[in-house]
Symmetry: none
Subunit: 379 residues, 2 copies
DNA sequence: ATTCTCAATGAATCTGTCG
DNA sequence: CCGACAGATTCATTGAGAA
């Protein structure tokens, strides 16, 4: 399968004298710009709209440094209703340019994704999956008042119900995933380091640049070579760069001319890859870390169990939440193990033991059994 | 802290002659039954509402490919609209019985969760997290036309914005998780095997029974012992069984009397865990405040003592009134610590140190000793 | 060259209490 | 309701610069 060349891949000639170039970034409002595109001309839409984060004050890290938040004007909306109107408008514009067989992806967080999903359904899109981007290195919750917000949600939808001819490269994905079906949760790292575009001062050029690996999975799973990919919120052109790399065509829209220019430069410099060379769906290795709480959830240790050291000199009590208590003090198996010995640190997995039929056994043996189970389940 | 006994734990006596039992399953419509409960009486709501209203009754039209597009859209609107009305009704009823500090969890899939989330926001709930239940053993996708649907989504929300006193047992969760804060994605197995309730024929009794481990995380993370947990769609009583096990109280509502009966039997047979394994413990946040002046009054620090940071780069002088001075500036240990570092804020307890026989020690160790004394004195 | 330490940072609706 | 302030709070990764 050859790489798309300029002009060669245009399938539906229209009245314009010259065929559209294969890679375009339009500067302007996405609804207005999409309205100028021919109807039913796009094979795949990927959209990363504003999330409407509704942030208020500053957030400081424990070291008192300030978190560089998304405080741009484009992410501010007067109300949920205003956000809904905005969402309805761009989704309708996108729908018009989608071929009947096209599908659409939208990424968001809990701030906006529920509204996007509801409107998708109300407009008659047909949700095929919601897919979780599970971040391997999310920003922590600095104040300890919520769970670490460690994922974002993507919705994958067909233009209408009963769409039966949409592209889903099931066999190829499965073959590239150790012959296991690809799941609806994808573990991927944030876009950092070299990949992250910087401005002249070494600061991030765009506040929400997505990792290319994420886009590669989207494009590889739900489009074919030479397909036309549309990104209405093109930003610094991640979608376009990956589309070109993977032999697809691309049209993006970006309101901010600085971002649009950066996107054009970036896409220009991309060299398409041989199509067969990318296999991004290798199974994510599970984090080696096993929380002690998981053994309790699994029923391997009961709350109320007494832990003791190898010489039965100290004991601690297993709590339902996976912490352990020694007298009035509650903490992790590691902290309490350290406390029991008067040390700064301790490996609770090897220090603490439980009574078994065959005598005292370190809880590390339970962890090993748990891991073995997990490995089996993954097969 | 004893295990909750029938009636003994009711905290707000009301006009009814007998206190409500600690574990109840009401048979009936959840909106009607919640309306009978006292307002602001519930600490935690967990709801697993029906997902597929559009597949019920006369709206069910599988594989009807010849439907006119307009009619089709109208059907969906009607169907979604009915689901929205239903959702709004039960959420409002739940909201009334929630204490101001209460939080609510809803679990769903892409069929319904976007509508639930939108309505939650529209009703003024405040989303704290969306949490992904990542299934370690999901059912495969048999047709190979989509990604394996390997997760469900939960929304965790406070009753209103700026709710600052909701329960989140951050420290305990972290201690049970290898001393790392718990993320918004939870990997847990489906409810199968022994745990899955069966009917007389060995068939599963309920189509969507949730694993107890999932409910255990929900209840352990966002409630305290003796709290009242409400489940408006009680089913076969998983929430109630786990609540009882963990020393919480419970009220559930279930429309189907077969399920309700099964739930009652199930909850009756649960034995609560030993109180010590679920007992709350004092976190750093909840520890009693100690004014720095109290250490001086107690003789633990003398006026005139020199304080310094861990690297002995700056020094401050302890005053008799409990303030400290740095050059001409006088202020609290925190203010002066911030000043010394050129920061906006500082925890003076950990920043400032005193010389001891064994070297430099943070004044926080003095505070800990003071608190220990106070504890002893209180006994 | 190699290893170690320290600093920086990422779509974040991130405190509680008292006056 | 607002302001002041005590004081509690972070994980994975990259990269620079020191040892």
């Amino acid at each position: 399968m050859g790489v798309t060349r300029r002009g060669a891949s245009v399938r539906t000639p229209r009245s314009t004298p010259r065929p559209a170039p294969s890679f375009r970034v339009l500067t302007g409002d996405c609804v207005a710009e999409m309205a100028k595109l021919p109807a039913a001309s796009v094979d795949l839409v990927f959209a990363d709209p504003p999330y409407n984060l509704q942030l208020q004050g500053d957030l400081k890290r424990p070291d008192d440094s300030r978190v560089d938040a998304v405080d741009d004007a484009w992410d501010k909306f007067e109300s949920f209703s205003a956000y809904d109107d905005f969402t309805r408008a761009w989704l309708l514009a996108a729908r018009r340019v989608m071929k009947p067989s096209a599908t659409l992806w939208v990424i968001g967080s809990y701030h906006n994704i529920f509204r996007v999903g509801t409107i998708l359904q109300d407009l008659g899109f047909w949700i095929l999956n919601d897919v979780i981007w599970r971040k391997s290195n999310p920003m922590p919750n600095f104040r300890g008042r919520r769970f670490t917000n460690a994922h974002e949600t993507m919705i994958w939808a067909a233009r209408e119900p009963n769409a039966k001819n949409y592209t889903f490269n099931y066999e190829a994905l499965k073959a590239g995933n150790e012959d296991v079906q690809v799941r609806s949760d994808w573990t991927l790292a944030l876009c950092t380091g070299e990949e992250r575009l910087k401005d002249g001062n070494g600061k991030k050029l765009h506040p929400t640049q997505k990792p290319e690996a994420l886009l590669a999975r989207v494009i590889l799973s739900s489009s074919r070579p030479d397909d036309l990919v549309l990104d209405p919120f093109c930003g610094t052109g991640t979608t376009g760069a990956v589309a070109k790399k993977l032999g697809r065509r691309f049209v993006g829209v970006e309101r901010d001319s600085v971002y649009a220019t950066a996107a054009r430069d970036r896409i220009d410099s991309v060299l398409p890859l041989p199509a067969a060379s990318v296999a991004p769906f290798q199974t994510a290795r599970e984090a080696p870390r096993v929380p002690f709480a998981a053994l309790i959830e699994r029923g391997m240790v009961s709350p109320g169990t007494t832990l003791t050291d190898a010489k039965r000199r100290v004991t601690a009590l297993v709590r339902a939440d996976g912490a352990v208590s020694l007298g009035d003090t509650v903490g992790s198996i590691h902290r309490i193990g350290a406390l029991a010995q008067g040390l700064d640190a301790c490996n609770g997995w090897t220090f603490w033991h439980v009574e078994t039929a065959t005598g005292l056994a370190p809880i590390d043996t339970l962890r090993a059994a748990f891991r073995a189970e997990q490995m089996q389940a993954a097969e």
